[in-house]
């Protein structure tokens, strides 16, 4: 069963339980790719992705049909995912010892190709960590996940022009970082 994201709100409103698995299928790669950059490691990203969809489902059960039909699914799901990432980061800051074993997952690989891809992932995560929160969020959601400026504005509750300037400044900082690394 293939459905585009546009049809999903109507299907969810009409038959929530049948349509919900398609929502997970349609959005899980994006949520996982993004949360990989917003959490410490792969395990955290997996947990947050799972928890996001559990919360999405619970929210859907409390919404009436009209509200579901009007949902902008991707930004809405990302609002939930971003909250979970923020909560998780906050908990880790209160328990610093838990934050120490940072990139453990990146070593659980089989092939050289995967290992290279994971080193790349770790390198970028380190760079992205040095940006401000809004800059990182804007860049990851747009360039890694593929959300539009409008969608990012909606999921973060910030204006589109703010998103644009966060993006511009963040990319400039990344460029400087890469230059410094190669010097």
């Amino acid at each position: 069963m293939t459905t585009t994201l546009d049809q999903l709100p109507n299907r969810l409103a009409a038959d929530r339980d049948r349509a919900f698995p398609d929502l997970v299928r349609a959005l899980q790669d994006g949520i996982f790719s993004g949360t990989l950059q917003f959490t410490r490691n792969r395990q955290d990203a997996e947990d947050v992705t799972q928890e996001t969809f559990v919360r999405v489902y619970r929210a859907l059960t409390s919404y009436d049909e009209d509200r579901i039909r009007d949902l902008q699914l991707r930004p809405w799901v990302w609002t939930i995912a971003l909250n979970l990432c923020r909560n998780r980061a906050r908990t880790l800051n209160r328990r610093p010892e838990a934050a120490l074993n940072d990139d453990r997952i990146d070593r659980t690989t089989d092939t050289a190709e995967e290992a290279a891809a994971n080193i790349d992932l770790a390198t970028w995560r380190r760079r992205l960590t040095r940006l401000t929160d809004p800059q990182r969020t804007a860049i990851v959601l747009h360039h890694v996940v593929g959300l539009s400026y409008t969608e990012i504005a909606e999921s973060t509750g910030r204006s589109e022009s703010t998103i644009r300037s966060d993006m511009r400044r963040g990319l400039a900082r990344l460029r400087t970082m890469i230059e410094e690394e190669t010097q």
Partner: protein
């Protein structure tokens, strides 16, 4: 290296596929993925489905033959397993044996308030007894909603276990059933009722019976009505007729408001 398109391309390459099993884990945590199995019901084999909250479906194979058919008409994903978990199986056996819901957990979480009230009230009707749709409507404080009660019972996700076969037409006739009138009759017969006698009594206009020694009137299948001996048995066409004769309604089967 510092070319902006390069940064953007490299960022785009950081996308990853979600690990296998996310969907399964989410489905389990939201109780959306049901398991189901084939068990022996009171009048033949039946598919029974459940999730973490309780039973979600009960369908006699007489109504739905193959597993494919069952999975297609089930409102959620369903995976066949050999048998229900032990605890659930024990409660199921007891419910089927006694005809009472007892402590069997049923998942009514995706069901609306009104239908839930109807189904809960319905499960109070003891085995071997029947009540009209209007009785449920009155008991849940919505005496005008007789038709809505019929619709709610017609959509009972767990027939047999929640005994909607014990609810009959206001005129006393046995009436329709989601799985056809013959199955309703055989379920009632299995509980010791005589469907033919019920229909005959209905045709004769007998809705209620009373005892001239106690001055109390009941639905004919109420356990107190069954104790009335022929010599003292009085038949009524309506509660008004019974009240006119100075009878009062039974407090157990509550045939009038």
């Amino acid at each position: 290296m510092t070319d902006p398109t390069a940064i953007e391309t490299r960022l785009a390459a950081l996308g990853r596929s979600a690990p296998d099993g996310i969907l399964d884990a989410v489905m389990r945590q939201t109780d959306l993925a049901d398991d189901y199995s084939l068990i022996e019901g009171p009048t033949g084999p039946a598919y029974v489905a459940w999730n973490g909250r309780g039973i979600t479906a009960f369908v006699p194979t007489e109504a739905v033959g193959s597993r494919d058919d069952f999975e297609t008409r089930h409102p959620r994903e369903a995976t066949f397993v050999d048998a229900p978990p032990k605890r659930l199986e024990k409660h199921l056996e007891r419910t089927i044996e006694t005809g009472r819901l007892g402590r069997l957990p049923v998942d009514l979480s995706s069901i609306g308030e009104f239908q839930r009230k109807v189904l809960e009230k319905c499960s109070e009707i003891p085995p071997g007894e029947i009540r009209p749709y209007g009785w449920i409507a009155r008991e849940i404080g919505n005496p005008g909603a007789v038709r809505a009660v019929g619709t709610a019972l017609g959509r009972n996700p767990v027939p047999v276990l929640i005994p909607c076969h014990r609810v009959v037409r206001t005129d006393g006739r046995i009436g329709n059933y989601a799985y056809g009138s013959p199955m309703k009759r055989s379920l009632l017969e299995h509980e010791g009722l005589d469907p033919e006698a019920i229909e005959t009594q209905a045709r004769q206009g007998v809705r209620l019976v009373g005892s001239d020694t106690t001055g109390i009137y009941c639905y004919p299948t109420c356990r107190h009505a069954k104790r009335i001996t022929d010599a003292h048995r009085v038949e009524f066409r309506s509660d008004a007729a019974a009240e006119n004769e100075g009878y009062r309604p039974c407090k157990v089967c509550r045939p009038a408001a």
